[in-house]
Symmetry: C2
Subunit: 280 residues, 2 copies
């Protein structure tokens, strides 16, 4: 923990400063005493996983997550095999980076299908196939529930409770869940889902729900405090469930991307400390 009191568990997901290279993002974290970083595979690929690991180590950073694996829902055998191969490569990268988890966005309905049950079976099957590879590399897969508005096209796992049900089918060291406030805040069953996720929380991600949603509904997110989510009780529930890992701020927002990165990092740290800090 290299950060100041109250932010020792803060991590910056590099998607929040999307225009920066991995090295620039790592330098930004170091400059702002943010002790961990969440990485994306495209930025890692630009330098290679070994070099990426060297960069974050040199900056004194821990890698709280690698984003992302998943997209498991394919009826076509070749497409399914390609997805699994890509996920195995992602697991190997996560191992090189010593990432706390590989985040999985599981995929929506299979192409041309309206069968949600089938999509969910495909997801469970694919994770089952990846678990031995993950265990061999000491990587924990993190199943992320995405907001129900992404159910058709991105992720058929829509509630934390469903992610937990799925994770419980596998060994706890190999499969956990990712709790992202943006995706799960609305759920009347959230507190119960978090409690039931005890021992399975692989990542805790933070981002606010801002209205109105923009035309691209992937980007309707904001800095903590700019939207409608009540962070302190959620953070307290996550800690009460025994999670001692990093809280990763991940914001997809054109306005945030347009801001200077140093301003963004300062805001991330300030808001985290006020609304979701380690004491949360």
């Amino acid at each position: 923990m290299t950060g100041p009191a109250g932010t020792g568990r803060l991590s910056l997901n590099q998607a929040t400063v999307k225009s920066l290279s991995l090295r620039e993002a790592a330098d930004l974290c170091a400059r702002h005493d943010i002790p961990a970083i969440g990485l994306w595979r495209d930025r890692v690929a630009e330098v290679g996983a070994d070099q990426a690991a060297a960069i974050v180590t040199a900056a004194g950073l821990h890698v709280s997550s690698l984003c992302r694996g998943g997209f498991f829902t394919h009826a076509d055998p070749a497409a399914r095999a390609a997805a699994l191969a890509d996920n195995r490569a992602a697991i190997e990268d996560a191992a090189r980076l010593q990432a706390d988890t590989l985040c999985l966005v599981s995929g929506g309905l299979a192409p041309g299908s309206k069968d949600l049950g089938q999509a969910r079976r495909m997801i469970a099957d694919a994770i089952g196939e990846l678990v031995p590879h993950a265990q061999r590399h000491g990587v924990r897969l993190g199943i992320e529930a995405l907001h129900p508005m992404f159910c058709a096209d991105r992720c058929a796992i829509s509630r934390l409770a469903d992610a937990v049900d799925l994770a419980l089918l596998f060994p706890a060291d190999a499969v956990g869940v990712v709790i992202d406030t943006y995706h799960v805040w609305w759920d009347a069953g959230l507190a119960a889902g978090i409690a039931r996720a005890a021992g399975r929380i692989a990542s805790y991600q933070l981002c606010d729900w801002v209205l109105p949603l923009p035309a691209d509904m992937l980007l309707g997110r904001g800095h903590l405090g700019d939207g409608h989510i009540d962070f302190p009780p959620i953070s307290a529930q996550v800690r009460a469930a025994g999670y001692t890992g990093y809280a990763e701020v991940e914001i997809f927002s054109q306005a945030v991307w347009d801001a200077p990165a140093d301003q963004t990092a300062a805001t991330v740290r300030d808001r985290y400390e006020r609304l979701a800090g380690d004491g949360g």
Copy 2:
């Protein structure tokens, strides 16, 4: 049941043909052998509830729902009192129209608040206050779960299971639930929620989930079959739960609104018969 075989339970919600007056919408239903209509309060108000009742009776139509009451989440006592008064007037209109239910869109977070629990308590309290008035007028309130993307600003009841939990606090003749496919299709707990709603289903509404969502996310809906929802199993579950009422097609979509009303009505009937008809 005046419709042809297979569409005897079809109802057209007048929001689907938003530009038509109540009389024009009633004539459209009669012209297309659609035996029931779902009404909106603004169109009813244009002629008054008694005249509206006369129009639909003359057209041989049953009123499957009146849309809508709700918006119960106010910390300000005057705003709360105004909402309750408006809901009492809506109950009286629903009685005059002999509507099967008054649909409730319960309201999101109270202004300035981030407390979802508070919003949900406000909703339960307000419904409790309205129940005696509903019972005196023989009107059944229908609690509608809205898609979680509307949780902050329109409806803090986001899953059918939560709507059922709330309805069960009150007598079954006074409070039921509205099942709208558009809002609940994504939920892995949907079948369980429908089964548990047996005896409480006040309305069944149909509309497809079409991507990409438009800038105004209220309007991302489409004709049955144009999107991602698998209607036959949902309709079968609703019937299996004992629901024998109308299936109301309600589509908010600029493209549908821009189409000629007769074309829309013909498409509504055709798609209903193929995908969600009485045999469903």
